[in-house]
Amino acid sequence: MSSDKHKINIEHIAHLASINLSDNEKELFHNQLNQVIDYINQLNEVKTEELCEDFSNISNSDDLALDISEKQLNHNDVINNSPNAKNGEIIVPKIIDQ
């Protein structure tokens, strides 16, 4: 693997992202990630210590939804989108051992 200037553990990051990477992809993304991180590190030039921490691009919404159940999506329309469904339920691999 080429230069790892930023010591990026690409396998760990891919695991956090729930993505498998081939060996070629690991090398490619590792190099590209290092280049992008090099570029975004220019933000260290900017003084931000005195800013107050109101980061929202979105004004805080005072408009909270009422806790009332409203019209729902059609159950069949939703369930039928699942790759594996039966009797109105989605089937997944077993997650609890006996």
């Binding site: 993505i19 979105i58 989108n81």
Partner: protein, 490 residues
């Protein structure tokens, strides 16, 4: 009957009212044009031929009985990440193959309520991640002005359809320039509304604090009408603003506003490496506004150069969270495995393309333990500075003018192997998304290679009315928006 190339929404509404044409005829002609040209341009992924003709007939009947829907019988193309009930919504990704939307996005309900016809779904970069539509997993889209060139992205299909006269207008989405840039590349109008102006309910999320749905159209007048229809508060979108929406079409009638209007040219947007044709076209546009009575002033957006770095931290961070839902369980592709973790990983590895994986990985990295403060929190702080730059500049001027892109459209394949080079192309558009402002892209020239050049008009928050007026007066007094591609592809 006029050639469909000659129609825009306003002129079609006129002819429909006068009985010179029917919706059925226009939709039939448009479908024939799509059959002829889509094999070259590749704008459309799915066409609702039967449904569109049926709706056209219904629209004609409604018109005959006095229905006044603002878009009655007007065919519109939809970017393939906006949910339309009963239709696929692939986001140009393998991971959503087979998914059928169980509901309409709010913008779609709004279009239907005004009688619009949903003609089909158009191509895009996968999950809106890209600037050329080359990241689509479902096909290639070409620039209608020269099919060896990219249409831009991520709303490349929308722009190619409108620029190639295969749609009267389209709805696209803009997270870092994805309406404005392809509109500039394909010679049409594109509007990114202020964040919160248009509901995001039913828009497949890429970066929730940046995404906005907006129109791509042939004229500013058409964009104004579409904004009128799609804008408005929506209780289903907590980020949607309770703010009044003027009758944008009506507002365009007053052209006296231009005298004394103060137009700023941000010096940081006239970057080294700006294509000379683009620079000349934009500066000529500024001179044109001056000749109409506007005052042109130099202004500064001091943190503009950091926009790409901020954008690619925040947008990818948000995307890594938004795309966690694509896991093979509730919809789309599933790679069956004995255990759940392997099911998730193999589904996502097979289902996502390279650019999507790259951005998810980057977003996961900048949010990960030990890096959150250095990257994500830092980027949010610089974002605030960028936002404040715009606030300050709009204390002294009314709108800003700039290029949309550093160059006109480029040849397909030129940038696919260098992601950072493609990211840097967004330098002139991403600041607007980070700040939340509105911006319009309109045709303002042609390059020496015969490709369109776009002019960006940036407005203060919720100043779409002024931005549209500034764009409209340029169209009324120039001819750039009337140029059409030759479309001799055989």
């Amino acid at each position: 009957m006029k050639n469909i190339q000659q129609y825009n929404i306003s002129s079609l509404i006129e002819d429909l009212k006068n009985g010179n044409i029917t919706s059925y005829e226009i939709v039939k002609n448009m479908l024939e044009a799509i059959k002829k040209y889509n094999q070259y341009i590749g704008a459309y992924l799915f066409i609702n031929e039967e449904e569109a003709l049926k709706c056209a007939q219904i629209a004609d009947d409604k018109r005959a009985s006095g229905d006044q829907g603002k878009l009655l019988g007007i065919p519109i193309a939809i970017k393939d990440l906006i949910n339309v009930k009963g239709q696929p919504c692939t986001c140009s990704s393998k991971i959503l193959e087979g998914y059928i939307s169980p509901y309409d996005a709010t913008v779609i309900s709004n279009l239907r309520n005004e009688g619009a016809i949903l003609l089909g779904r158009v191509n895009m970069d996968e999950f809106a991640m890209g600037s050329s539509t080359e990241n689509s997993a479902l096909g290639i889209t070409s620039n209608p002005w020269n099919i060896n060139y990219v249409p831009g992205g991520s709303s490349g299909g929308s722009a190619a359809a409108v620029g190639g006269h295969l749609a009267l207008a389209s709805l696209g989405s803009d997270t870092g320039g994805s309406i404005r840039q392809p509109a500039a590349f394909c010679g049409c109008v594109g509007l990114k509304p202020t964040y919160g102006r248009v509901s995001r309910y039913g828009l497949t999320a890429f970066a929730s604090s940046l995404d906005q749905i907006g129109p791509l159209s042939k004229t500013v007048e058409d964009a104004a009408l579409l904004l009128e229809v799609i804008a408005g508060y929506d209780a289903n979108d907590a980020t949607s603003k309770k703010i009044s929406n003027p009758n944008y079409s009506e507002c365009l009638k007053n052209l006296d506003f231009i005298k004394g209007l103060k137009i700023g040219l941000p010096k940081e947007y006239f970057i080294d490496g700006l294509n000379l044709d683009v620079k000349d076209a934009v500066l000529n546009a500024a001179d044109h506004y001056k000749s109409l009575g506007a005052e042109i002033v130099d202004v500064s957006l001091p943190h503009a150069k950091y926009a790409i770095a901020v954008y690619y931290i925040l947008a990818t961070a948000e995307a890594s969270a938004n795309l966690a839902r694509f896991d093979g369980i509730r919809y789309g592709l599933r790679k069956d495995e004995k255990n759940l973790i392997d099911l998730y990983k193999n589904t996502r590895s097979d289902g996502f393309g390279d650019e999507v994986k790259r951005r998810i990985i980057l977003g996961t990295y900048v949010l990960s333990s030990g890096y959150y403060d250095a990257y994500y929190k830092k980027a949010q702080s610089v974002r605030l500075l960028i936002k404040n730059d715009f606030k300050k500049v709009f204390e002294d001027c009314d709108v800003l003018l700039s290029p949309v892109t550093p160059t006109p459209a480029y040849i397909k394949g030129e940038k696919v192997s260098n992601p950072l080079s493609m990211y840097l192309d967004d330098i002139l558009t991403t600041s607007v998304n980070l700040a939340g402002n509105c911006a319009l892209s309109i045709p303002c020239g042609m390059s020496s290679d015969g490709l369109p050049i776009g002019l960006q008009i940036i407005g203060d928050m919720f100043e779409e009315e002024l931005v549209l007026k500034v764009g409209h007066i340029f169209e009324k007094t120039t001819e750039w928006h009337n140029l059409k591609p030759e479309m001799n592809y055989e």
